[in-house]
Structures are given as C-alpha cells and as structure tokens.
Amino acid sequence: MANEITSRNIINIVKYKFVWLCVTAILLLPGVLGLIYGGIKNHSPLKVGIDYTGGTILQYGVQEDISNTGLASLRSSLEKAGIENPVIQIIHANAESKDNNTNIKNIVSIRTKFISEDTDTENKITDVIMKSHPKAELMSVSSVGPTLGNELFKKSIMALAIAILGMVIYLTIRFKFTYALAAILGLVHDTLFVCGVFALLGIFFGVEVDSLFITAILTLIGFSINDTIVTFDRIRENLRYYSKKMSFGEIVNASVNQTLTRSINTSFSTLITLLALYFFGGVTTKDFVLAMIVGVVVGTWSSIFFCTVLVSIWEDKTPKAKPAV
C-alpha cells in the first residue's frame, strides 16, 4: 500500500546505509590522518597556542593613546611580520604602576610564543611597534606560563565525559540505549571531524587552537545533540502509529525526510549568524567561528547520515521483543 508518510521522501537512508557509512568514513579519514601525523611529528595532534603552552610577554611603553583602528593595524602588521596569533592588550599606565617615566601613557602588551635567545623575533616586533609609535620603548620581556594548564584541561575533559554519561542516561530513559549510543557516537564523530580539520589547518596553514576552541567544541556538541534528538523524536513518534503497517527501515526513512526541512532550516539559520561573524567579525575570533561553522555542517550531516543510519542498523537486527499493541 502506498504509504501516507513516505510520499515526500527525498533521501533514502536505509537502502544506502552502507554507502552513507562509507562516505562518513572517507570524509573523516583526512582529518584523522592529520591528527595522527601531528601526534607523531609534533607530539600533539593539534597545533596548540600560547593558552596551552605559555609564551613570552613583551611590553612597550608608548606616549600616545591607541585607538581601535590603531590596534587593528598593529595586529595586522605584526602578523605580516610573521608573528603568529599575537595577543595584544593595552594597559593604561596609572600612578600605581612602578614606572616613573611620566611620559608613558599606555603600555602595549604583546603575548606571543616563547622567544628564547631568538632576539631576531624580538627585533621584528620592536620594528613594527616603532613604525607606528616612534617614541616607544621596550619595558620588559618576560616568559609566562599557560593560562589553560594541564590541570584545567584535564578537568574540562573529565567534566565533558561526565556530561556525556548524563546525556546517555537521559536518552536511554526517554528513548533506548541504542539511540543514546548512536547520538553519542555522532558527537564523537563531529568532535573528531572538527579536530581533524584543525589538525590539517595547523599542518598546512599554521592555524593554532586556543582556549576558545574548547568552547567551539562544546557548542557544536550542543547543536549536534539537539539535531539528532529531533530526528529520533520523529522516529519514536512514527513508530507509535505506523509500526504495524511499515518496516522499521521505512519508518526511519520517512522520519528523516519529514524532519529534513527543519534540519536544513535550523542549520541554515545558525550558519547565517556564524557566516556574518566570520566575514564581518573580529580577527581574534575567526578561528573560533570557523570551528563552529564546520561543526554545524558536520553536526547536521551526522544526525542524518550517521546517527540515524546506526539506529536503523542496530534496531533492525534486534528482533522485536513484543509486538506493537
């Protein structure tokens, strides 16, 4: 019989399930290779920034006020001079600071990678500063430890692991363990994919991950689980009404197609904001936004072509414990 809810099917998830799994695996592969390459070559799968490693702070006293545009041009000239991802802060020199030189109004503090005996880098930075502030003087060079130390990082990972456990428990109660497992594997897939992309970006373009990257990963996890649950919810609902008339595979197909418009519209509206932030937003948050953009796209992909496929494989093999009432 021609089924009512299958009339608008666009994608066939169940028929091509192994195709979708293969595509997912192939898409994941380059990033994973990038992570492995980074892990072997640099002892760190991702190229980490000074938030994790610590670095050097150079402080220059300047006699002028520095505007936002001045700050922006300073940043771009530093990057042109080969200083990767400098963290620039303006310190307003006040009476209590120890310098007695009253001509100094502001201090430009630049945090960058460790500069050991490599005075060449120091000179490069000084040159850039001198160009816009001829009377600037180098006040101090000191090394700083990481703001996101190992302890903090471990704590965050632990918290994330416990949070995932909490989600598994909730989803098992509301759905089934197989659904919970599929949703979590989806999250693992998304995280791995985004990390992989950044490993590759690190290898080819020197992109570093900073503490904002953790935030981006958390955000994409939130987004992706939301997307997956909406699809699962539709499967659950359709199972209630159609499990007598249709096979599990057909129900999964119908559910994915019913929620497809919604998945695309939601992802698209999130992408709009992110793209605006990427193209019009500040330089310092570009990589963060990029991680979120990649995350939203793979999150949508994984809910449709990975999590649902997993459920359709696992649930179809499970013999029905009891016939639907």
Partner: protein, 436 residues
C-alpha cells in the same frame, strides 16, 4: 480568549521589566571582552620555605585561583610569570580592594602549645596542627551573641587535636592566625570529635566582617608562602577592542539575517517568531544583568547557541503546523497540534542540553562554566518564549477561523489537503510520547 489577553499583558509587562533592567544595570564583561585589573604577585620566602621552588609556585597558583573563585570573581586568570611571580587578571567591575586583601593574606592557622624560652619567659611552640588539618570552617555566634569561627577537623586533624588537648589539660593552648595570637583558652579536658571554635581576643571579640573573612580564607586554603603585590594596572580586552567592536556589528547583522530568513520562509508565523526572538533576547540579557553573569566570549557562544535553539523550537513548531495545514486541518487545530507534537522534540533536546550544562557547570573550569551557565539559562527561557509567547500571539492574531490566506503561512492553496493524513495525536500522548 480572556486568559490569552491576560497572558498577552503579562508578556508585555515582563518585556518592560526586562528593558528597565537592561537600561539601569551595568553589563559585567569578562577579561577577554572588557579587560580589567592586572596584578603581579611575587612569592616571598619565609623561614620555613627559604627557596621558591616549582612546587611552591604550583601550590601558590592553585590556592590563589581557589581564593579568587571563592570570592565570587568569575573568569579570573592566574598565570605564572618568570620564576617567582604570578600574573592575576581580574575582570572589569570587581571590587579590587577586596580582591587584594584576599589575595595577599597567607591564611595560616596554627595551634601552639606553651613552652619556656631561654630567659624563662613563656613562648608558644609548634604543635603540628594547622589549617591543613581542617575540613571546613563556618561563621556562628556563641551564647553571648559574639561572632565566633567554628572549625571542623579532618580525621587526621581530629586525632592530633584530641592528642594535643589531652596533653594540655590544665594549661593554655594558643590559636594563631597569620602569625597573630587570636586566643589562648585554658584546656579543661581532652576534646574528642574534631570540633572547636575560635573566639576573638580582647574584650570586644571579632567583628562580623573579621570573622567572615577568616572563615572564607580558611575555607579557601592557606598559601604556602606570602605573596606581595608588586604591580597593579588596568588592562584592555585580551581579544582586542578592535575585534570586539567588529564582532558586535557582525552579530547584529547575523541576527538580522536570521529574522529575515524566518520571515521569508514562514511568513506570518515567522514574524511572530521574530517578535518572540526579540523578547527572548531582552529577557535573557536582563537576566544576565540581574544575576549578574560575567559575560565572556564563551558565554556569548552559549547565548548564540541558545538563540539557535530558540529559533529551532519555532521552526519545529511551524514545520509541524504546515504539515497539519497540508493535511487539511483548520487553523486552530493546526496551531495546537503543531505545538503539541513539536513539544516532545523540544522537551527532549532541551532537557539533554540542560543536563549536560548542569554537569559541565558543576565539574568544569572557568571557560566551560561560563558557557554552560548562559546556555542553560538560555534554553530554559527559550522553552518559555517558544511555547508561551509564540503560541499566545498566534492564537490572538489568527483566532479560531479557517485558513483564508495560505500564503500567510508560506503554503500554496493547492497544497492544502494534499499532504499525508496523519493519525490524530492525543494531546496527553503527544506531550510525553514514550517509546512503546
């Protein structure tokens, strides 16, 4: 209908209250967005610790971090600089004076026993019982109404305390805090059970602030060595004021496009969703200011994600509504069943997010916590705004009539009644759909 009108005015009132809060209260921004104060601390050697080693610095950094957190200053950065200095950056509008007194104090609590010095005078000797042996301390008053600090020892500490008091029956025992004698009570009998109180020296005893500060410091843990503030400055945002100004603009543009998108795809309901979205943002922002939450970029990411989820809730509902309209239902039923059927999706996805946020907030560290807090608050408010506000407005505007202009919902007249015939969902079932 009457209820709907009351609800409408309630929403208007909430919106006005939100705007009032936004206008009157300052926004608390984190270091990354607004900068703040920058303190440089230098570890001081003591007789007990003549050399500042790496381990000493690790403990010092940990205790200082612990303390600023106890102070309720969120999003503070504590970083090692050089061999014996710590850089502490505290976001914007914090009471710096208060922060400074908390950071510098060593909070060394010591119990001492009496002894005889070289010239026959009374001196206090180390009794090997310190603040390290405490599990917690609390502020209470004694029967005379004086403020006292009550202490609870851990297992090890209880044993030591019992031993110490047993040996000192009939003598005095001294309690020192930061090297100052607080009190020297006479021990009448051995004290078991690991509890004791400190009352202030002198006739007046402790003032409340004094006692409270001692409790806070004791609970945060002692510093291994004293730390002196050697530098103090105000700093600009770590993310750069230039970048933040641009991102603010970009965020506005993004939000504007999202609203246009909703309007374009969902037409009349889209417009209502846009209004709900504006109200939602106002309420959440007011809440951030009222609590207050220190907003960092991570927090704003949580905020943006929650906006995404609020939009998603509306998209879910409207997609459902369209399906119902295609199935030929009248407007009133379509609106109601759109909401009811979308509710399980919204409930489950939001509950999962809230659970994850609670756990992240409880176990996580600064960045993770800021994110979890704003996201959880956002999701809770968005459930209210998506369900209550949108639904109320929909009913108020469209009433109970037939769908006269399908274009208002982005549908073609020919589509109506052409979709699948869905089995009627009972409201009770739809609300908490459980897998059979």
């Amino acid at each position: 209908m009457k209820n709907r009108i009351i609800m409408f005015w309630a929403i208007v009132l909430i919106a006005i209250a939100a705007i009032f809060v936004i206008v009157t209260k300052p926004t608390k921004l984190g270091l990354d967005l607004a900068g703040g104060s920058r303190l440089v601390l230098e570890a001081q050697t003591t007789k007990a610790i003549p050399q500042i080693t790496d381990e000493v610095m690790d403990t010092l950094q940990f205790s200082i971090e612990n303390r600023v957190n106890k102070l309720g200053v969120s999003e503070t950065i504590v970083q090692r600089v050089g061999d014996k200095r710590l850089l502490v950056e505290i976001p914007g509008e914090t009471d710096l004076q208060k922060a400074k007194t908390y950071i510098g104090e060593t909070a060394q609590l010591e119990f001492k026993k009496p002894g005889v010095g070289a010239n026959g005078e009374r001196i206090w000797l180390d009794a090997d019982l310190t603040g390290r042996d405490l599990t917690k301390s609390t502020l209470t008053t004694d029967s005379a109404g004086q403020w006292i600090v009550s202490l609870e020892f851990n297992a090890e500490g209880s044993k030591k305390f019992a031993e110490l008091t047993k040996n000192l029956v009939g003598q005095e025992m001294a309690i020192f805090f930061n090297g100052e004698l607080q009190s020297a009570p006479r021990v009448n009998e051995a004290i078991y059970g690991g509890k004791c109180v400190i009352s202030g020296g002198g006739e007046s005893g402790f003032s409340q602030e004094e006692a409270q500060e001692m409790v806070n410091l004791l609970n945060a843990g002692a510093l291994p060595v004293p730390a002196k503030i050697v530098e103090e400055n105000t700093v600009g945002a770590t993310l750069g004021a230039d970048s933040i100004a641009k991102s603010k603009f970009a965020g506005m543009v993004g939000l504007g496009f999202v609203m246009l998108f909703m309007l374009f795809i969902y037409r009349a309901p889209g417009l209502i969703a846009d209004i709900a979205l504006v109200l939602y943002s106002l309420m959440l922002f007011a809440l951030f200011k009222a609590i207050p939450v220190t907003l960092t970029l991570a927090g704003i990411a949580g905020f943006i994600l929650s906006i995404g989820m609020a939009v998603d809730a509306n998209i879910l509902i409207f997609e459902r509504m369209k399906e119902e309209l295609r199935a030929g239902r009248n407007l009133f039923t379509a609106i109601n069943s759109g909401f009811d059927r979308a509710w399980t999706s919204i409930l489950d996805s939001n509950m999962t997010t809230i659970i994850a946020c609670l756990i992240l907030y409880y176990f996580g560290s600064s960045i993770v916590r800021g994110f979890a807090l704003t996201l959880a608050m956002g999701v809770i408010i968005s459930m209210f705004s998506a369900i209550t506000i949108t639904k109320n407005f929909m009913h108020l505007i469209f009433g109970a009539g037939e769908l006269k202009y399908p274009a208002l919902f982005g549908l073609k007249a020919s589509e109506i009644g052409q979709g699948y015939q869905a089995t009627e969902t009972k409201r009770e079932n739809a609300r908490f759909g459980i897998l059979d």
